[in-house]
Symmetry: C2
Subunit: 343 residues, 2 copies
């Protein structure tokens, strides 16, 4: 079913492509008026994630406007704790609110039974998008990596330093491992089903990986990501998998060497020349353009685009941002970025 002539998938298989395929993290999002219109109709944010018709529509919107080389499933990383039975809400303008889990007692309230009942609408979104995907465009499924999902489950909200999640992970690593193990199981099952529904590549977002000391990064970020990739590939051998542990630059070369990892996302603070030397020999490199520069614009927009494309032109490269596109980004800046990448 998968068309391996798609540039995005070819790049993930290690091919150098000129110009590089391009998509943008959060490309389906608030900077698009057509997204805001659907979001308003949907009511709450989770309603939108669980509505396959509307979620498929917003997944496809940026493709129509910009012709990106990949679509990414519109969903949220917190559907996993929600499916496991944790109370998850999105308050307007405030971000997620969860009933925090702080210890083994809290874990007892989570269950892996029946997660697919809750996640079924997401698979429906993947199916709908896969059916109408433009030729040459790939469909990416995704999930949050266990560490990042765990930070929300433990803190109960976004946080700057994750005192509770890190306190648990660093102070009682064996206890915290139980939460991570549950997330590895749930996330693997979730991603396997996304592939069955039509996802052609998978990305694991570990947005808060950068706050972990080395030993904890290895145990709670890298190892769970690799374990999930192994479990998914045990079922779907050829599915390419991108890992994006943000803020963890010096630890990426080792992760890139894991045979289960096909691509590595690099954030805006990671030197693309360094990534070309240290990561590209082992994995496709994706990312790096600073979303704040995309919002700010100016001549630097074209200059920095060229600089990233040049730095990574010697190996497999997927052009992307170093973090999600910001809601106030002017649409013309996205058009200029694409023109600068594609020439």
């Amino acid at each position: 079913m998968t068309d391996i002539s798609k540039p995005f998938l070819r790049a993930l298989r290690g091919e150098r492509i000129d110009p590089p395929p391009v998509w943008l993290m959060r490309q389906a999002g608030r900077y698009l008026p057509e997204y805001r219109a659907v979001r308003e109709q949907a009511g709450g944010f989770l309603n939108l994630c669980y509505d396959p018709v509307k979620a498929a529509e917003v997944t496809l919107q940026p493709l129509r406007r910009f012709g990106f080389d990949a679509a990414i499933l519109f969903s949220d990383i917190l559907v996993i704790p929600h499916a496991m039975g944790q109370d998850v809400r999105f308050e307007a303008g405030e971000g997620p609110r969860l009933k925090p889990i702080r210890d083994a007692g809290g874990l007892a309230g989570l269950s892996l039974n029946g997660i697919h009942d809750s996640l079924d609408p997401i698979y429906g979104t993947v199916e709908r998008v896969a059916e109408v995907l433009p030729d040459g465009t790939a469909l990416i499924g995704f999930a949050g990596a266990p560490w990042t999902v765990a930070t929300y489950m433990v803190e109960g909200c976004g946080s700057r330093d994750y005192p509770n999640a890190k306190g648990w992970a660093l102070g009682d690593p064996d206890g915290f491992q139980e939460l991570i193990d549950l997330l590895v199981q749930a996330t693997s099952a979730y991603l396997i089903r996304q592939v069955e529904a039509g996802a052609e590549a998978l990305q694991l977002f570990d947005t808060w990986a950068g706050v972990l000391p080395k030993h904890a990064f290895e145990r709670f970020s890298a190892q769970p990501i690799i374990e999930i990739a192994k479990r998914v590939k045990a079922v779907h051998t050829h599915i390419p998998i991108i890992a994006f542990p943000r803020g963890a630059a010096i630890y990426l070369p080792e992760l890139a060497r894991a045979p289960e990892i096909d691509g590595i996302g690099i954030d805006y603070a990671t030197d693309p020349d360094w990534a070309a030397r240290e990561i590209q020999p082992y994995a496709t490199v994706q990312g790096n353009f600073d979303p704040i520069l995309l919002m700010a614009g100016g001549e630097e927009l074209e200059r920095r685009t060229r600089s990233i494309v040049n730095a990574l032109s010697g190996g497999p490269h997927i052009f992307n941002l170093g973090h999600g596109i910001l809601p106030k980004t002017p649409i013309e800046h996205v058009e200029r970025l694409l023109k600068a990448v594609r020439g």
Copy 2:
């Protein structure tokens, strides 16, 4: 005047010392009841910074309790914008609030004339502490590095992603350079006077260096730090200088090679084994212990302390945290940490 037999200063001059000298970032702070008592008397936070008697007292408090190898001047990085004429306030429980500067017009309101009038009480604090410093203990002066100070000046408050400061720095780098140049001048003059008042080493905190792309890190974090170090050393040739650009791990080895930089602070996310290989050959390494583990405690506290000490035992090392001590840290945990370092 400076006693070069002090372990902290010997380590900064490149000597391997066993056990390593130790101090903790924010060691004068809210986790100490004696600090909270003085802070309450002082009224606002800036009042405390500008009161040499009280600021000297809180600088000395952690030495009395723990016998650290260094004291660090109690002050705040925002005294520099304040001295340059920007409106700076600290609202209780909310952190700093500044009248934001967003463009060249805002820069016109800043002045370098008379900064020492405003900063004079800080020099008074340094003098008082230097007079009564215990034998063998060194006194560290400090300032914020230009990039981090600029983020507060532009955003007007703490921020997560620094959209305005980064937007200016990335979108209009030549315009932003004017703000950085002003900060280089003010900060150099400020640190020169701290040395004259009795500071025996200096630390430049670049807490938000980690959000910059490589080219911007070089221009707005590393280069200004090196320029300040050059200017200070042009007057005080032998003063050791520690740079702490947090979250910028892969860029640290290059900074460590700058001859003006004697020590490099590493945050909790930077692998100490990597730092031993990549930084220690060029500069003394300081830092790394996770303040959240210090707060959490457990047997991991001793295990991770030993692991850091071992990793860095082959070269010059100053034991410290990877970020400031947290207000809820139990005092017994600090005692255990010191015992684990000193054996």
